[in-house]
């Protein structure tokens, strides 16, 4: 791509105006939140997903449920915050790094896989969960048992997600891949037999399969197509918070709350979770 050099100069101008507006907006946000990064210890702002059943979900009545929410609540408790002092903020995948580095949230617990590119912008604590890319199929479908079976199948995933890219480049390049805006859209296709399988992290799949309205309709194939170590994202260089969160996670595993949270949120889908991973970040 030679044009990139020429385009770069012009693009920087656009980038500058974008950053300028972005900064203005976020400062206002931080101010109105009242103490995301301020000294007063009255509110703790935590970034979670709002749309992933079993992990981070905002229910219609405004409550938050899921494994990520339980982990966030436990960590907050260890940091000295009562549940009513936690304020959850939506952290969509593309915005997680910015929410953290702008100080809009103290930390992010949102199926956040630890990887090197992300570590350039943020630090992680944990991991607190080891997930694998897996497949969700209709409960009566036995034709898919390994990744190669996908080459003749219709597959669904979310636009731009790492799982979708894995399929395209590595797992099954010949699979007919449909990229939808969200996993719920994929489930519609799966139920109507327009697609044969849905792929992403097994924790996310288990969350959907465990939903009341989906019970008995779908099953996990149980493959380990990749390793995703979920970490808690926090501001780069905040060693003190990282150490505290790591200690909290360790304690959560040791006193059994971790296993209880897994069973409660992901258990109904017959999801066999692995034991809690070793903490590797910041030690």
């Amino acid at each position: 791509m030679k044009i990139s050099k020429a385009a770069a100069a012009a693009a920087i101008a656009v980038a500058l105006s974008l950053t300028a507006t972005a900064c203005g907006g976020s400062k206002q946000d931080a101010a109105s939140d009242g103490g995301a990064s301020g000294g007063a210890k009255d509110k703790l702002v935590v970034g979670i997903k709002y749309d992933q059943p079993g992990l981070g979900l905002k229910t219609p009545d405004g409550k938050f449920t899921g494994f990520d929410v339980d982990v966030a609540t436990y960590v907050a408790k260890e940091l000295g915050y009562q549940p009513d002092q936690i304020e959850f903020k939506q952290a969509p995948s593309a915005e997680r790094e910015n929410l953290i580095s702008n100080g809009d949230v103290k930390f992010v617990v949102a199926t956040y896989s630890i990887n090197d590119k992300r570590k350039e912008k943020v630090d992680f604590a944990g991991p607190y969960f080891l997930a694998h890319q897996d497949l969700l199929v209709r409960a009566d479908d036995t034709s898919i048992t390994k990744a190669e079976d996908l080459n003749k199948k219709k597959l669904c995933s979310v636009t731009g997600s790492t799982s979708a890219q894995n399929v395209k480049t590595k797992l099954a390049p010949e699979a007919d891949l449909l990229e939808q805006g969200g996993y719920s859209e994929c489930l519609t296709g799966l139920e109507n037999k327009a697609v044969d399988a849905l792929t992403t992290d097994n924790s996310i799949l288990a969350g959907y399969a465990a939903q009341e309205k989906n019970k008995g309709k779908f099953k996990l194939v149980g493959l380990s197509l990749s390793n995703e170590n979920y970490g808690i994202g926090l501001k780069k260089g905040d060693k003190e918070l990282q150490t505290k969160i790591n200690a909290a996670l360790k304690k959560m595993v040791e006193d059994g709350s971790w296993q209880k949270a897994v069973d409660k949120n992901l258990g109904p889908a017959n999801f066999k979770s692995e034991p809690a991973p070793q903490i590797t970040e910041g030690s």
Partner: protein, 224 residues
Amino acid sequence: MFDFLDSGQYDVLGAFWVTVQLTLYSAAGSLIWGTALAGMRVSPVPLLRGFGTAYVNLVRNTPLTLLIIGCSLGLNQTLGIALGGSTFKEIGFRLAVLGFIAYTGTFVCEALRSGINTVPVGQAEAARALGLSFFQVLTLIVLPQAFRAVVAPLANVLIALTKNTTVAAAIGVAEAALLMKEMLENEPQALFAVFAVFALGFVLLTLPTGLLLGWVAKRVAVKR
């Protein structure tokens, strides 16, 4: 800052080519469909007029995202309509074009209808007095003049359409916005650079369109 472009991992030009294709097919389709709708809205048949009005007001006021996702979820995944495509890549593209035509056609229709209003009533009356049918009056006398009056508004519709094609990413059409999502997932350290590249790409697509059609509009306008 822009080194992710040189990694060879992302086909930015290819993605924008899909955007261009989506735009061209949808523009051609919506020009035809919009003209037909405009014909219905000014026709002497009450049923056609009623249909045209109802369709334009319904579709124009429906969010485009809803229409496109409706095409994918409703037509394809629930009813199994594939428009002759066999892979999701083909099906998605065709469904997206269908959605864009349905939506953009309403704006073309309304632009044309305003163009029809610039043609003096006397012209249609004179044509009718010569014994031309409604269809002949419309296609021979009124529409040719109306089109020349609405080149600039149609250019706006075309520019809006170019940018609207990003919605097709929601149903997995591999155009620019989909690639941008993929790059944002992989390159969080270059968030604003990625934005900038795609913003620039769309400026490069739409700015010449606007300039060219603005010039054409001046050339062909009927001076009254």
